[in-house]
Symmetry: C2
Subunit: 327 residues, 2 copies
């Protein structure tokens, strides 16, 4: 096995976020599930956009946020995801490459527009997401380059990719390439509703292919259809050698075959917008893991990265994370 | 004179900001004047965008920020400015109308794209702006509707509008309509380099048409080609009945024919990005003025609005300003 050129490659839905402040009444009027990610079509996206408040646009996408976080920590990162060759697609490519992430996937030249996620942030800092997948549905196995995947220590995939039809094949192809090259495969469960949509597919994929699983409590318990976290924790350690489970303000829990490590959350002066908290936790954790740091330290770096992202609007770091973990 | 339906109408360049963190070395390498606004063409915009870091996109434009601020304070506001019927133009229209501002100007259906301003924010929170005017060059007298202008207590114009060729005519037309309807005309000098470009035109316009002038120290002293603030203050009170001059962390000075009122700056926990500070000061000041509040109180509201905007990236309020001035 050769030395890896990259630390982490992310595969995900390439999405531009449109972030707006909102309130519970708006979510109720729009029949949105608070805290969830809902898939919407373009007419619905237009209707929500017309009704919501002023926004800011920022590149997002779960795995995209994670690899931008890895780069901000000083790691070497790459990304696979599909944009259209339109204005927002250009913004997406600019932002992720300017963050230092290699992004070889060509833009689609026909078909739907670059994906958008309309994010409503409530005063409690919760985010509710409405995603028009657009060009993301074009991502498929042909976008997974074997040499690129083999060049990274870890290939990280977001569970949201189970929604567009071709991406599951891209997933499996990438996992097989990574393992054949002696690399690791990581998966984020992304969202409890997403877990409900694809539960059996996730279980099969985790058992066969996943070395490192990221989830929050709700996603992990949804995966095993239990309300009991301890049962879910016991179940996941039978399927995968390493799982990192975030618990919001309570921090996170790292679960291996033979131990459970509790990691506290990092302090935040004011929680503004929780968008990207899980993505950045994964960034910090994987940064530590690819440097062979102890698991508690991986979790600590994850907590610091998550704390930065929830202190402002948007899911990409505003402060270079490398400076924060040294402090 | 009928009761005004609107408090403030802004006329300005309708611009989408692309905000990125940067450093002094980047500004030097790109030969940018720190703190200034430079006009650039589309190829230069592409070159800077390619070189700069990841960004966030947010509606901006000086007068657009001001009227969004007036609306956030609870005032009634309108806007005249020119976008193209493209993706960013749609974003601009969404954001300003979702803020509660009436925006009747139709989008251009041909010609250059919606304007963009590439804003580099340095760690000292200073912003350096590079503006591709795009569709703004199409704004002209035909976009100034007499009934609309006559419906507002104050028509507020940004000095930046002296850069696109047709807008000066729009300016004069709007001022004449406003005065014929018994309304007031306000002008912001916008930028000291802009003052150097259009000094005589500004002097002529102020003397003939401006009731309320907004400037910062550098702009006011540039207008009178002096280094001496007191001399500039004496000169401006001969030209206009009311001037509000911002002095950064030192607050502002309100100058009338017979008095000078010093207004302290409002406290800010951490200054992040000074983009929009002057625009929001004007918003607060005009909000007070259109409610016939004492000038010191107008300045105080301006200071509070400015303090909110410099505490985060972007030049549109994140916190409803009405709540802040009541606190």
């Amino acid at each position: 096995m050769t030395t890896a050129k990259l630390d982490v490659i992310g595969i995900g839905n390439a999405i531009v976020d449109v972030i707006s402040q909102s309130d519970n009444a708006f979510l109720a009027a729009q029949a949105m599930d608070k805290g969830a990610m809902m898939l919407i079509d373009e007419p619905r996206a237009e209707a929500i956009y017309g009704a919501m408040g002023p926004g800011i646009e920022a590149s997002g996408g779960s795995a995209g946020n994670t690899v931008a976080g890895v780069a901000s920590l000083g790691g070497k990162a790459g990304y696979i995801g599909k944009v259209r060759n339109d204005v927002l697609g250009k913004v997406y490519r600019h932002d992720i490459t300017a963050a230092g992430v290699a992004f070889p996937t060509p833009a689609a030249e026909t078909g739907p527009a670059t994906a958008r996620c309309l994010i409503l942030v409530t005063p409690d800092a919760q985010r509710t997401m409405n995603t028009f997948l657009g060009a993301c549905v074009g991502l498929g196995p042909h976008d997974v380059d074997a040499d690129f995947i083999a060049s990274a220590q870890v290939t990280y995939m977001e569970g949201y990719l189970y929604d567009p039809p071709l991406a599951q094949e891209a997933f499996r192809k990438a996992a097989e390439i990574a393992h054949a090259a002696g690399r690791k495969v990581a998966l984020s469960l992304s969202d409890s509703f997403c877990v409900h949509r694809h539960r059996q597919a996730f279980l099969d994929f985790i058992e066969g292919h996943v070395d490192v699983l990221f989830a929050n409590e709700a996603e992990l318990t949804a995966l095993f259809e239990t309300e009991d976290f301890d049962k879910a924790a016991a179940a996941i350690r039978r399927l995968t050698e390493l799982a990192a489970v975030t618990r919001g303000a309570e921090g996170s829990v790292v679960i291996t075959r033979d131990q459970i490590i509790e990691v506290p959350a990092a302090a935040v002066a004011r929680v503004v917008d929780t968008t990207g908290a899980g993505d950045l936790y994964a960034a910090g954790f994987l940064y530590g893991l690819t440097r062979n740091l102890p698991l508690a330290e991986c979790g600590r770096i994850g907590s610091i990265a998550a704390a930065e992202i929830i202190s402002h609007y948007g899911a990409r770091p505003e402060t270079p994370l490398a400076a924060l973990i040294q402090a």
